[in-house]
Symmetry: D2
Subunit: 383 residues, 4 copies
């Protein structure tokens, strides 16, 4: 799949380009949810000690240690790219290589953050359906690479994305099998959890079960796509990795002077199970849209719908019908001959637009006498 | 001066250490000001395109081009360390060296950000009173270094801090003279403007006069210490430097997905001359405190009071008197035998505490029959 | 093709492993030729100024400028890996990417030298028969990459290997077409000339025609495989690239203190057309072996024989016959079901072993009544 | 002391600059000694396996393990700069800092090799007479730095030069005390042994006593200044450091394809105690010159004469007298008002020139009626 990132920061084009307004475009486009916004307001009182020695940041480690049922070290960062770079840099020396999927976000659209944060690593690319790598391919790649062969680089880490950029989710058993292969050869295991909560909702497991109990050594914990204001976190379970992270975190400029505004968001995110509620809503929205599409003929899903993402090739008549109802979808190269689109749902999707989407599909199906063909991905147990 | 940074992110000490609560401790400890907080709230409506292609970010370049009276390229970053690293990395190759003051913040307390962002540069350290480097010393250092001598590194940039970490301000003529020396040898000129607005207030010049008109090629523009929520910006005036910045900015993880929340702050900061009003308040608070201290005998100022910082050695009787009024100052190593303190004022200082501080000084002076000895730094024209 | 490098420096295995002694194993295994050894002896008289300011090094630039018919800047290095790293590092910033063949030596067996020397670049891999990339694939890759897209990296250079690791040679027109595509998008063009002379012999063109006249900006000029004692050179034609090279060259530790011993070899290499004579001998040896193999049935060549390398799948009866004559070939994974081997000829191949090889083939052919089927690669004009 | 390196590689100045021919200029200017040249000739027979899997390289580890009385891992490199960079890169992460003397060769004249090989480290500079750092200063610097303070960098290694660039030698007890301080805080200890053998001759201790028995973790072992053809070695005693070195060594391009020519030199260097004999000769030459100078009035030595280096301020009448005998010394900035010179002796110094030097001094002394004032540094036991 060809990545289709947005254009660079507008500051590079002072003239200003016309901005397309798609619907169900990206969970990155959603606003900050009310609970998090309120938390930000409530912490904006009086002075606090800077650089993370404030009362909010002091609570981060306890709160996340509870969440993960194990001592956790928490390093707030503003973006997923920063988080992935930082996490990988902490487990990969400049002469190391990271095994990951050839379409992983760290490969396609992070501008070389792993190379930057590690100081010169390489990514060794693996294939795999729906952006998931398989134990067979990983094992083969490790054997071909040759641990300790200085003509190659030092095999240092694997990076998995949960859920993947294609919206697919690794089962806990798959994570375990991959981690065991990595650990057997001395590699660390990184999880890019940009849509961590959506995957948890899909699998119905605990955060602990999907991370350290499955062999994950270090985690990029995403919250921005699920309701916060640019607040992600790198989470480590090992004190030595945390020691290294401390230096990299400061050095890269992520030790915020007014850290309280990051920490209060990350704390609020756990309160009242906000993380779960928002992800559940987003996944359920995807179920509704996918179910609507299932009624229509000539629709092809490029990937299973397991979280809040749908990759669909639509017949022209349907995309026209949607546009007539004011719904413009974001084109996405899904190969083949049809018109591909990526739809990403969020907790904040407009019910009215979902309704309109459903209407368009129902009308399309009725016009063609196709009966309902519900798909039920999302919150169900792993397939 | 020995730097005395706060301790590392609390996440590294899950047990939690006792946090000292000093007064007039740091402008980093101040809350976000109302105007900026309102702007954040107001932009939290509906979806926006991610990664900087939103309506707010589109306005950044025009707004800052107006502010600087020249086409400006704006790259939002979350911290001053990120900003300095990014700016220096854009003008310094891995084999380059940066000439700067030996006590510059980039040297003492940014964890090696310049080395990280450049990929291996070195900082060549210069002396200078009040953390200001002199044209004489710069010229001498450049000659000793030898432009083009491969046994040394490539002389690539100079970095100046305005105002310096010691609260001193370069006059525009000084900036020009240093820039000319640098440009003559092909070096770029960086300005660390962590307290940019406070310096502007002190000098009474325009942003253009203190930057590109004085030879500054690239700028770290600080707003966090002056009222925003972790929003700094790297500002370039040259399209080729901006092109490089674009790649580094993304690569380091500073191209926020929800960029609108950064951009709206940076826009609000300019509205109603908020930047000036806040800095003026902070500087005036420093004048009040410094004037109060001037009444007392045995007080020594380590540096001139030109912005919102005071470095003072107090007699024990005075620091005791302050503590009795509930004012605990932050100790700072200023050499000598006395008790050194650093006081940093902000727009949000409590009037009550300023009043108490003045009371303590007046009472101390009265008890010792010392008449008023007003000092008037701050908003006055350059000395 | 799976790369099959030798094992790491023996110092890592103090116990010592048994070393296989193959024939026609590698041109890296050949001794230093007499003319070069004599030159080394002859320069070993008295003292010389260190670090390249000696009389021999002073002659390098003039000699190579003559050789290339244009002002050339010469930087001696001890290995091809150092040369490639240095050359690529001079034209690729840390945030840049290099387009090259997926089986290029810089990708498969140089331990990440490009990433190291550039400070964090990435290699974007292209396919292509016989390790040659095609203009079509390069054009497609550049378009997909998107020049200036900050989510990707900065497209900075392409790297071509002449002759390729598969023994194939780009025609001058092919080099030109690839260079033009690169230059059109602002990329620099690097040529890995580990077997530069063998390619020249094959093409029958001048060094100028195969380099800057064909758009090559920077060159790794190999001599070690063709008769010298670990003496390669990075050659640039542009003063600005040379300026950068000067710093990287020193920084990486390649500015030898006793530089005369490097320079005298590089000078001797050009004298009496030694470079051509040695490469011609090696290529002709390959023609003899390939011609011998052509008589035998069931032999498959994986790549055309254009220089001094043969990649052949042999029937077991033939490899047994060769071993009975004392000739053990180096196994090489060429896919398929047969027994693959890589044969690399050098100027110093033992005539006796070539004769034995020919005998074995002739006997095999005679026993199977296959008539002569001469192949004539090598010194002939481009196909 | 201002470093005064030679100019850059002549290739950068194709026009060619006039080269000064000084006497007693540098041990880097000496030719390769006969025994090593013979060894090079003798190994130039037939083919050998490339990349270090040859018969000579196989013997390196055993030979050096004998020499150091402990298992040693040996990595040949072509220059001291490469060796120091490689060694420091193996014990310093990109976010680490190295404590060393402010005039160490790694600081003044290696073009940023430590920053390059580590991927972004910083050197923390210490003062000290004759380029030796003292335990008191190291202890103070470590305390000021604050181990674990993320605002600073990670304290990773110390680097000592034995003998120093000023010709001074650390006593074994001094090495031990410095190593203990470093190890107490978790830092590794590097020894730059560019003139390792000269220091051994001065101290009269064993290689083991001056390295691992004194706490040295990793060593740059210099042989080029003492008779070989650009052959240095990084030597580690710890298998984990050796594992890292293996990757860096290859990655930087120091895994020579024709490694035998490096290894045979390093083996020959130990045979017949060549290393000791050459260094002894060089040190004794320095004693002769220093003794001659001691007869003359108005001569000031800037540093003690302990190895093969003399830093002397001469009265103009004496430098004129030397030039009249055809001896031109290399100027060196030694401060003060006189004419400073650096003299470096080598095993290959011309006896005739030494004699002429002695004659000039004796005549000068006789003309001024100054009696003999012998100094006896060099091979004597440590002061």
């Amino acid at each position: 799949m060809t990545p289709q990132p947005n254009t660079a920061a507008a500051s590079l084009q002072p003239g200003g380009s016309k901005i397309a307004t798609y619907h169900f475009n990206s969970d990155n486009g959603a606003p900050v949810c009310d609970q998090v916004m309120s938390a930000l307001m409530s912490c904006n009182q009086g002075t606090e000690t800077a650089y993370g020695a404030d009362r909010f940041t002091m609570n981060l480690a306890p709160a996340y240690s509870d969440y993960f049922e194990r001592e956790a070290f928490v390093f707030p960062v503003p973006t997923g790219t920063a988080g992935n770079g930082l996490a990988l840099g902490a487990v990969t020396p400049p002469y190391g290589t990271i095994f990951c999927h050839e379409s992983a976000h760290i490969v396609t659209t992070e501008g070389g953050a792993p190379e930057f944060y590690s100081g010169g690593c390489r990514m060794t690319l693996l294939p795999g359906e729906h952006n998931k790598i398989t134990p067979t391919d990983l094992d083969k790649a490790l054997r071909k690479h040759g641990i300790g062969n200085v003509h190659h680089m030092a095999a240092s880490a694997i990076s998995l994305t949960q859920a993947t950029e294609a919206g697919a989710v690794y089962r806990v058993e798959e994570l375990k099998e991959l981690s065991e292969l990595a650990h057997r050869e001395g590699l660390k295991v990184h999880l890019d959890g940009a849509r961590f909560s959506n995957a948890i909702v899909h699998l119905g497991v605990t955060p602990a079960e999907m991370t350290w109990k499955a062999g994950i050594d270090i985690l990029t914990f995403g919250t921005t796509k699920n309701g916060t204001m640019n607040a992600e976190a790198v989470i480590a379970f090992d004190p030595e990795i945390a020691r290294v992270l401390g230096f990299l975190h400061k050095r890269a400029g992520h030790l915020f002077s007014k850290m309280r505004y990051m920490s209060v968001q990350l704390l609020s995110y756990l309160e009242n199970d906000l993380w779960y509620a928002n992800a559940l809503q987003a996944n359920q929205n995807a179920v509704r849209i996918a179910s609507a599409l299932a009624q229509c003929s000539d629709v092809v899903l490029a990937h299973p719908v397991q979280i809040n993402e749908i990759f669909a090739v639509l017949p022209p008549r349907l995309s026209i019908a949607l546009r007539e109802k004011g719904i413009h979808l974001r084109p996405w190269n899904l190969g083949g001959n049809g018109e591909g689109f990526r739809l990403v749902m969020s907790y904040s999707d407009s019910p009215e637009h979902i309704q309109r989407f459903e209407d368009a599909c129902r009308e399309d199906a009725a016009a063609r006498n196709v009966g309902p063909q519900f798909v039920t991905p999302g919150t169900v147990r792993p397939d």
